[in-house]
């Protein structure tokens, strides 16, 4: 099977065995029904054991799955009348970020998201979902447009990070990211951010300052990739698995740290197994978020967003541990 992940091999092997037995039964008329039933019971248990006890590193693998649904996979399933807008009006159009206007159950919204490819050709076009400054500036332009027309903004976060390239530095990658954090904090419309894949550092955060922040169950959000952390801290990228655990990068970890609002449950084995079903779960959370945020005034929206980020951080003052709850 294409794209199978290491940790789910036992499940897939057992599935294959059951299929073989079924085929054998059909061909030879030897009755193996009982055997098959036993194996199916075992499969059910095995699936539960594996998929309900995913380790951080397993989730990293799912978040990075080449077939994991992207922003543009979800857009037609969640919205109608999508019209894509291009360009930052200054330099160019960065296809690692997509954005545009659409309707969500009749409500006009602005959608912005990182965009990966699923094959080499598309990944080259999309720069593997790693934006340049013009991508972030396009996103900001669309956010300001949304603010002007009082449309809620929905962002999809899915990037390994901002592109570490020469041209990106020359055109002010840092400034572009910083500017988005700064401006997003002051937006007068509801902003809902959903991490759908990898949330890689500042490049992810640049679309991530919202009133609500949700994460798909198997997505990750991190200050640096586990490989990067391992090679800097222990000079051994092979310890990425340890770093993934220590750095607390999974949706359940971030929920526990009070960083995110909701964990959006995933289809068993990961969103890539059923994109349509997955979009239903996202739709439900999105609807709930909007219902909560739409009645808020502009001032309330800004204050709610400010307080949300203002409260993040843990430290001691004169030996006393301070942990602010949002």
């Amino acid at each position: 099977m294409v794209g199978e992940l290491e940790f789910e091999k036992p499940v897939l092997e057992l599935k294959k065995k059951i299929a073989e037995l079924k085929e054998f039964t059909a061909k030879t008329e030897v009755d193996l029904t009982e055997e098959i039933a036993k194996l199916e019971a075992r499969l059910e248990k095995l699936e539960r054991d594996i998929y309900e006890n995913l380790k951080p590193w397993d989730r990293v693998q799912i978040a990075r799955h080449p077939q994991r649904p992207t922003t543009l996979d979800y857009v037609p399933l969640l919205f109608t009348d999508f019209f894509e807008c291009h360009g930052d009006r200054n330099f160019g159009d960065d296809e690692a970020i997509v954005g545009g206007i659409a309707k969500f159950h009749g409500l006009p919204v602005t959608i912005i998201g990182h965009q990966r490819g699923k094959d080499t050709k598309e990944n080259i076009r999309r720069n593997f979902g790693m934006p340049h400054p013009e991508g972030y500036r396009k996103a900001l332009r669309l956010m300001k447009q949304a603010e002007k027309f009082r449309r809620p903004i929905i962002t999809f976060i899915d990037t390994k990070g901002a592109y570490p390239g020469k041209a990106a530095e020359e055109r002010g990658q840092s400034e572009a990211i910083a500017r988005n954090l700064f401006e997003m904090a002051g937006l007068r419309v509801p902003v809902i951010c959903i991490v759908i894949g990898e949330g890689g550092s500042g490049g992810a955060l640049a679309l991530g300052v919202g009133n609500h922040l949700h994460m798909l169950e198997n997505s990750t959000y991190s200050v640096i990739s586990p490989e990067g952390a391992a090679s800097i801290l222990w000079r051994d990228a092979g310890k990425a698995k340890v770093a993934a655990e220590k750095m607390k990068i999974t949706a359940p970890d971030l929920k526990e740290l009070d960083i995110i609002d909701e964990i959006i449950p995933e289809v068993k084995g990961g969103a890539h197994k059923d994109t349509v079903l997955q979009s239903k779960a996202i739709e439900e959370v999105l609807r709930r978020s909007l219902k909560q945020l739409l009645p808020l005034s502009e001032e309330e929206l800004i204050a709610q967003r400010y307080n949300k980020y203002r409260a993040i951080g843990r430290y001691t003052v004169a030996g006393e541990y301070i942990e602010i709850q949002s």
Binding site: A162, G165, K166, A178, E183, V223, L257, R310, I312, Y315
Partner: protein, 290 residues
Amino acid sequence: MLKDLFTKNTKKKKYATIPSTRLQQDVPEGIMSKCPQCKKIMYSKELAKNLKVCLECGYHYPMNARERLESFLDEGSFSEFDQDMMSGNPLNFPEYIEKLEQDRKKTDINEAVVVGKGLVDGHEAVVAVMDSTFRMGSMGSVVGEKITRAIEKADEWSLPFIIFTASGGARMQEGVLSLMQMAKTSAALKKYSNNGGLIITIMTHPTTGGVSASFASLGDYNLAEPGALIGFAGRRIIEQTIREKLPSDFQTAEFLLKRGQLDAVIPRAELREKIANILDIHESGGDVEW
């Protein structure tokens, strides 16, 4: 073994070792300093008097927070805030507490930023100075919180906010909490800015990663010291990604000035005067009589 003992003895050096030329050039730390750029050897006292700028080539040595405050503010005008705020190791990250402890001993400060209020040639301002000798100036919860509180105080008192940045970026040992400090500090600046607050950032060597991609780049005036390394991604990562060698001046203050990313690159000796100039213009009201 006994035999080994004998062989060792026979290999014993019968001559005095002469220090290598490299070692010979090394100078006793404290009294003398050697410029890492032009290799000139100077008296440390002389160097300190010259604001830690090489007398020969103008190389700007990194300054720690105390040295910076001393050289930048009017004598005795600084009062510090939140001096006793420390990291609580929120993720229970291995070896983190020990590393912090080491740096506290080494540097005499509790975290990678010092914040407070002081006078710049008579102009009152809230000032934050990052210190790259403490955990590479990296930003975790404490750095983010101290900077945010400083911005909020500047807002409350309607004072300018001046920050000297020096940082390798977000602190890994506090994971996503560090990342979110970028949003927290930027949001505080936005609020302050909306109330008319004046933001001056001076990027010093090095200002990279999550710090350059948040408050460091958000000044009304983005300034830098000569030769400072400023950028988002590290040189090595970029070289690996694009598979080409980068020019030697890549990501220097001068490089960024040329590409429109900075308002000015200001030598250390002129910083006080130039910033006082900006503060003076901002303090002057618009109601004049001609």
